[in-house]
């Protein structure tokens, strides 16, 4: 089975505070001071050196491999690095270390609506978004009716999307990506959008995407869904891979760890206000 995604030792470092906070003149001033210091005392380390900036690693040494047609679930608490990993895989940003190879077009089903222009009709936006995802106009034209049909917005397709309700908007966005079907699909957070009927359609569509042999990455869904739908599971914790393997096994461990964490946590009633706050803040941040 050919590989869809290969991630080798991906790490991502973010700098905290300072950067981008200074104005142009402050930058010039501090660089001048730094230059003069370096000139007068070449050996001395200065405050302006970037190494002294506080930083944290959002991802550390994440490696995994995903084959075509497989479904990967990424799980982990808030701040575990899930979105950062997806951003790196989709070329939105770059890793600080490591390397990833991606085979095929990759798109996130729910974030597609970001490219909509409010003044334009649903029709125009389908074309605009489709081409942003790397599809040709011809490919979009062929599937146009299917997209409109799936979204259930036939009557409103020539109305500017600024007049859509938020439900209609997200239905259109989902339909564009789900019907155009990039080779690698990211289902971020919730698959199901809109009302119950549309939710059901979404699930059926996602199942049919699975059946067509597309590669899917699912992030933070209900564990029951993950067990049923995904082959492999990547558990991230504080930016590191806690576990990678068959979904059932990883999810079982993950649920046990979550339950233990809940049990270990002191009951809120036992804590005074300040202790409660510090218990939250004490979570390790790497």
């Amino acid at each position: 089975m050919p590989v869809a995604i290969e991630a080798h030792h991906i790490s991502k470092q973010f700098f905290l505070g300072e950067r981008n906070q200074r104005t142009f003149f402050e930058d010039i001033w501090s660089n001048t001071i730094f230059g003069v210091q370096r000139f007068l005392q070449p050996g001395r380390a200065s405050l302006a050196e970037p190494s002294s900036r506080p930083s944290f690693w959002a991802l550390q040494d994440v490696s995994f491999q995903l084959h075509q047609g497989e479904t990967l679930a990424i799980i982990g608490e808030n701040g575990a690095g899930k979105s950062t990993l997806l951003k790196i895989l989709s070329r939105i940003t770059q890793p600080t270390k490591g390397k990833a190879k991606v085979f095929g077009r990759l798109a996130s089903l729910l974030e597609v609506g970001a490219g909509f222009h409010p003044e334009f009709s649903g029709r125009d936006n389908i074309y605009l978004n489709g081409t942003m995802l790397g599809f040709s106009k011809k490919e979009i034209r062929q599937k146009f009716d299917e997209i409109v049909d799936f979204s259930g917005l036939e009557k409103f397709i020539d109305v500017p999307v600024k007049n859509y309700s938020s439900g209609m908007y997200i239905r259109l966005a989902f339909s564009v990506a789900a019907i155009l079907n990039p080779e690698i699909v990211i289902l971020d957070e919730v698959i199901a959008v809109g009302d119950a009927a549309f939710k059901k359609k979404c699930f059926e569509r996602v199942e049919s995407i699975f059946k067509q042999g597309h590669t899917v990455i699912m992030v933070n869904h209900e564990m029951a869904h993950l067990r049923r739908m995904s082959h492999r599971c990547l558990w991230l914790r504080h930016g590191q891979v806690e576990m990678f393997g068959p979904t059932n096994e990883v999810v079982t461990h993950y649920e046990r760890a979550m339950n233990e964490a809940l049990d270990d946590r002191p009951r809120p009633a036992e804590l005074a206000g300040s202790e409660c706050a510090s218990a939250f803040l004490a979570a390790p941040t790497n």
């Binding site: 050919p2 590989v3 070329r91 770059q94 990833a100 190879k101 490219g115 605009l128 942003m132 067509q212």
Partner: protein, 285 residues
């Protein structure tokens, strides 16, 4: 490219630290349809839900030309070669608007598109290129109105001869567009760090116009300031543009060479900075 057509031996793309994103002409060409849709979108969006609609393209240059007519021709008595002042100013204003809108729109690339860039990947350079395209599309009808004005003058007995160099017009516009792209990209890269730079750029563009032979020909520039005009690439391009329209001025070779050199340099530096910023700008903006 359907699932069956993926080449499994070669990745579609590789993500690596420090690696510049793909802007090979071939991959930009693959997104040509997006380019065209964006041009159409911005062109049409400009006059949706407005009272005058596309007439805005003509109203603004006319009003500005009239203001120049009063201030620079009637009060300051600056020469406009043998051309009627209205034709001289209007030709200058529309081409300056083309250039300055290109620069300011391209400069906003990262600030205005952050939302989209954060969600969907496509070659970022498509955005600035589409802005240039939109402005070119805005310029063409304005040029049409200029020709109507010339026709009107000719009918009323004041003959205005068009230059045989008219074919060089696209070339001058191309050079201006390249200069605008380079400069705009450079500013766009800097806006990732200093967000208010675009405001400064707005003021600078306003000032720049007065030194770019829009309000008077080179012959009317005081000798002690002529070096400034020589070093200003836009002055040479505007002069070239006007001499390819009318026969009343002749572009000078020396300043033109300087202008082309500056343009190529700025385009190179601007694109390089843009490429450097586009890699991780979403982390900072």
């Amino acid at each position: 490219m359907s699932a069956s057509q993926i080449d499994f031996a070669k990745p579609s793309y590789v993500v690596e630290p420090g690696k510049l994103l793909d802007s090979h002409p071939k991959s930009l060409w693959a997104y040509r349809e997006l380019f065209l849709l964006l041009v159409k979108r911005d062109f049409v969006a400009a006059y949706k839900q407005t009272a005058l609609g596309p007439f805005w393209f003509f109203v603004q240059p006319f009003l500005a030309s009239l203001a120049f007519l009063v201030v620079f021709s009637q009060i300051a008595r600056l020469s406009t070669t043998d051309l009627p002042p209205l034709v001289f100013y209007m030709s200058g204003i529309i081409v300056w608007n083309f250039f300055s809108n290109c620069v300011s729109k391209v400069a906003y690339t990262f600030l205005l598109n952050a939302q989209v860039f954060r969600k969907i990947y496509f070659p970022r350079l498509i955005m600035p290129l589409s802005q240039i395209g939109t402005n070119l599309l805005n310029f063409i009808p304005q040029l049409g109105v200029l020709f109507l004005l010339i026709g009107f003058y000719n009918l009323s007995g004041r003959g205005i001869a068009l230059s045989p160099w008219l074919f060089a017009l696209p070339l001058t516009l191309g050079l201006m567009a390249l200069l605008a792209l380079g400069l705009g990209c450079l500013i766009a890269a800097a806006t990732v760090k200093y967000r208010d730079l675009t405001i400064v750029v707005g003021y600078m563009l306003n000032l720049w116009m007065y030194g770019s032979l829009v309000i008077c020909p080179r012959s009317a520039v005081p000798p002690n300031l002529s070096w400034l005009v020589t070093l200003n690439p836009m002055a040479s391009f505007v002069e070239c543009y006007r001499s390819s329209l009318f026969g009343t001025e002749h572009a000078e070779g020396g300043p033109l060479m300087i202008a082309i050199a500056i343009t190529l340099l700025l385009a190179g530096v601007g694109l390089a900075c843009f490429k450097r910023s586009e890699r991780t700008f979403t982390d900072h903006i």
